[in-house]
């Protein structure tokens, strides 16, 4: 039953992403709320459903986005794997872990999006992508990283109360 929380949270995250966050752009870059929430959720020690969240985020993204579906799905799974790995390594510094996963996660997602669009025939250049999308997007993601982590920390405490009491 705890896994069901992924549906409303990720659906809401994508709605907010499409209606608000994507309109607040820096050059052509925008923050990625689903990525941040997914990374923050995967960094919570007691959470066991992060892989399910990655799959669900990938499916929702495939449904609403024009990107080739495999790109966000693969990127989200890799980001969760990375987050779980980093969480085990630097569990005493969760904020540092969040910023690290935000940095690497943004790069992974953008790399996969870039490659997928290149393969599908969209003529986009790596230089333009870095200058107009990735670097501004990274900056905006860093701004939202800590609030996203705090929100997911509270959610994890609410969803897994017994583990926190032990």
């Amino acid at each position: 039953m705890r896994n069901l929380i992924a549906f409303p949270v990720l659906t809401l995250a994508f709605i907010l992403q499409m209606s608000i966050v994507r309109r607040v752009t820096l050059l052509s870059g925008a923050a990625d709320l689903p990525l941040l929430l997914l990374a923050a959720w995967a960094l919570q020690e007691e959470v066991a459903s992060a892989w399910l969240w990655a799959l669900l985020a990938g499916f929702i993204s495939a449904f609403v986005s024009g990107l080739p579906p495999l790109a966000p799905l693969t990127a989200y799974l890799l980001i969760v794997g990375l987050a779980r790995l980093i969480q085990r390594q630097v569990w005493r510094l969760p904020v540092l872990a969040m910023f690290t996963v935000t940095l690497l996660g943004t790069l992974i997602l953008h790399l996969f999006s870039f490659l997928a669009l290149q393969i599908s025939g969209s003529p986009i250049s790596l230089g333009d992508t870095l200058a107009f999308i990735t670097l501004p997007g990274l900056f905006l993601n860093f701004l939202l990283a800590f609030p996203a982590y705090a929100a997911m920390r509270d959610l994890a405490t609410w969803v897994y109360p017994s583990e926190n009491l032990l």
Binding site: M18, G66, H110, P123, F132
Partner: protein, 275 residues
């Protein structure tokens, strides 16, 4: 006699005093008297008001605080109403402009739709609208505003559709320079800038030239306004000119769009020879 004499003396004294007063001889004394009287009156009045305020102030203060809260709530409500009215006015203006456009272009039939979102990925310039296949929308239908071309429908579900804007890096629109009468391909980019491709060096282009859809390829109907030439760069070493285009539509402020529902796009992909 004694009483009569006393009365007469008293009368004379009073009459004399009155005569002196009327003659202005007591002015100084009466002025001093008046000043003292006013001072006493003011002192009493001030103390009375102070005591009255001291007694009634807590009740008045609570009343004022309550009244202030009521007024603040009223101001907030009115401000929200003003914002709502402004939005309605803005929407009405946009709709009126679209109605004018559809009336001035009666050869096509249109369906209006509101923009409800954008693609979650910043790599793509797509918007989401609140009309879908249940409203007769199909993939490939062109989308316009009263100003000009917006893009075309990329995907449809029952009650929503995704539109690929002409600024998307994967978009390519066959256009015609109105003045020169020559065709070219309009391409989008990651940054949202538009540029002309395949425009030969000998084609005369000037800043401000209008671009219309050519209708070639069957993707868009002809003669829809797309934009105007913003910047031209010619280099002898290049095969084609580099021309930057200013779109007529402000894609960051899109709220309502029109879908041309009676246009059936032609997919010529099977006819293209792939080497």
């Amino acid at each position: 006699m004694k009483d009569s004499a006393r009365i007469a003396i008293l009368f004379l004294i009073v009459a004399g005093i009155l005569a002196l007063a009327l003659g202005g001889y007591f002015g100084f004394i009466s002025q001093r008297f008046n000043v003292s009287l006013v001072a006493v009156q003011a002192w009493v009045s001030t103390r009375f008001v102070a005591i009255q305020e001291f007694i009634t102030l807590p009740r008045e203060s609570a009343s004022l605080i309550r009244r202030n809260a009521e007024l603040e709530a009223e101001v907030s409500r009115l401000q929200a109403q003003v914002v709502q009215y402004k939005q309605q006015v803005s929407q009405t203006e946009a709709l009126a402009a679209l109605v004018n456009f559809s009336r001035s272009n009666p050869e096509s039939s249109y369906t209006a739709a509101s923009v409800i979102g954008r693609d979650p990925s910043p790599f793509l310039h797509y918007i989401i609208i609140d009309r879908g296949s249940a409203d007769g929308l199909r993939r490939g239908m062109p989308v316009v505003t009263e100003k000009g071309l917006v893009g075309r429908i990329d995907a449809v579900i029952a009650n929503a559709a995704r539109i690929q804007l002409i600024t998307d890096p994967g978009s390519s629109v066959n256009v015609r320079l109105e003045k020169a009468g020559r065709e070219a391909a309009l391409a989008g980019s990651v940054s949202g800038d538009l540029s002309l491709e395949l425009l030969a060096q000998d084609v005369p282009v000037e800043t401000g030239d209008i671009l219309l859809t050519s209708g070639l390829g069957g993707g868009y109907p002809p003669d829809l306004i797309v934009g105007q030439v913003l910047n031209i760069r010619k280099r002898d070493s290049d095969l084609f000119q580099q021309v930057t285009i200013q779109p007529v539509v402000d894609f960051s402020a899109l709220k309502i769009v029109l879908i041309i529902t009676d246009f059936r796009p032609v997919d010529i992909t099977p006819l293209l020879q792939i080497p």
